[in-house]
Symmetry: C2
Subunit: 226 residues, 2 copies
């Protein structure tokens, strides 16, 4: 089992941390200010229970600062929003990310002009590549940004096989991520190639967003039929 830091306490962070812990990994969740995070006891803007309630039901999961969480872990999962990602990873600290597998599940969504969001970076660059350039000693792997949080970690709940993608320049880091994905139940993982291919995975979001609007649910995923 692996020591894993999940950076971010939102829906994505909770889904990943909860499932990784249930699978037996040692999980620490990173947040900006653990005291402030635990002090929030009201439901959030979406009406969901606060993170403190979620955490208190999971005594095997720890909460720490971004830096503490990253420093203690072999694998770091960026589950923060795209807009916060570079800031969050900066707080985690380049030294704490050096040599680590950094699984980036974020999307560079820009909500400044309303819904659907546009992409803050695209086509000739990607958020994953920005992360790699900012933290050159991290072993960045892009994956899981193409589906909703609950399906990231329990894809079989759809009742039919579907596909996820991995992109990265470090083959061993990709293999570590693929092992985690298979642990979640992903039976069809396509290795797109180097980290540059994350441009493709991130540019899937505009179609994903329209599909969510048309289908009226986020509980769908693509299967690459071939």
């Amino acid at each position: 089992m692996t020591n894993i830091a999940v950076l971010g306490t939102g829906t994505v962070g909770q889904a990943l941390a909860g499932r990784l812990a249930a699978l037996g990994h040692d999980v620490v969740v990173g947040t900006r200010d653990p005291g402030a995070t635990l002090a929030r006891v009201e439901p959030d803007q979406m009406g969901d229970a606060p993170f403190s309630a979620w955490l208190s039901a999971r005594p095997d999961i720890e909460l720490a600062t971004f830096a503490d969480a990253a420093s203690r872990s072999e694998v770091v999962v960026n589950a923060s929003s795209g807009a916060a990602t570079l800031d969050v990873l900066g707080l985690a600290g380049a030294d704490n990310l050096a040599g680590k597998v950094l699984l980036d599940v974020s999307n560079p969504l820009d909500f400044s002009a309303g819904f659907p969001p546009t992409l803050a970076v695209k086509d000739t660059d990607s958020l994953a590549e920005q992360v790699q350039r900012a933290f050159p000693e991290a072993r960045v792997v892009k994956s899981l940004n193409t589906l909703t949080a609950s399906l990231m970690v329990e894809p079989q709940s759809l009742g039919e096989s579907s596909t996820v993608f991995v992109s990265g320049d470090d083959a061993a880091a990709k293999a570590t991520v693929v092992e985690l994905l298979e642990g979640f139940g992903h039976g069809d993982v396509i290795d797109l190639g180097g980290l540059e291919t994350a441009r493709g995975a991130e540019m899937w979001l505009p179609l994903w967003l329209r599909l969510m609007g048309s289908l009226g649910t986020a509980r769908f995923n693509v299967k690459v039929v071939r």
Copy 2:
């Protein structure tokens, strides 16, 4: 059966025109200069047989100028390359497109920096919307740009159901296109919504291109599992 103009003599135009004619539609293929098109008797850059050979094997399909083809048809299919699309439709003529269902299957691929191509328009606009703005009286529907030519027209050859999308502001025009898609064998057509949603369908291409690279074939399609 419908009078259909297919604008473009490349792989996509041949696949669509051939299949539509085989299904009993009256098909005319539009090209810039029919005499010049028929005069090319050498294999093309890809080593494929020239269009003239393809056409001579299909006596039920006519060749005409873009304008003649569009003027004689109820449905016009833009099967030209994304870079040529606005020019080709300009030659077809706004008057000849007015009131017509204009099925746009093109992708705004920009090969100027090599492979994989980038997108000439994206995120806050789409080629489909550019077409609609340039030809406001045409009833533009975006579809079939998300898969390779042979699968556009014979999706069942994959051996498993997969998904295609339609985007457009004119409900009756979309219904006409959906009927054509069903005639090709598409059993899962998702209506994404208005023409704005073509941004999503066009931004699928960067991932499609990486998948083609990874899988080593263009014969794949997505199925939206839900």
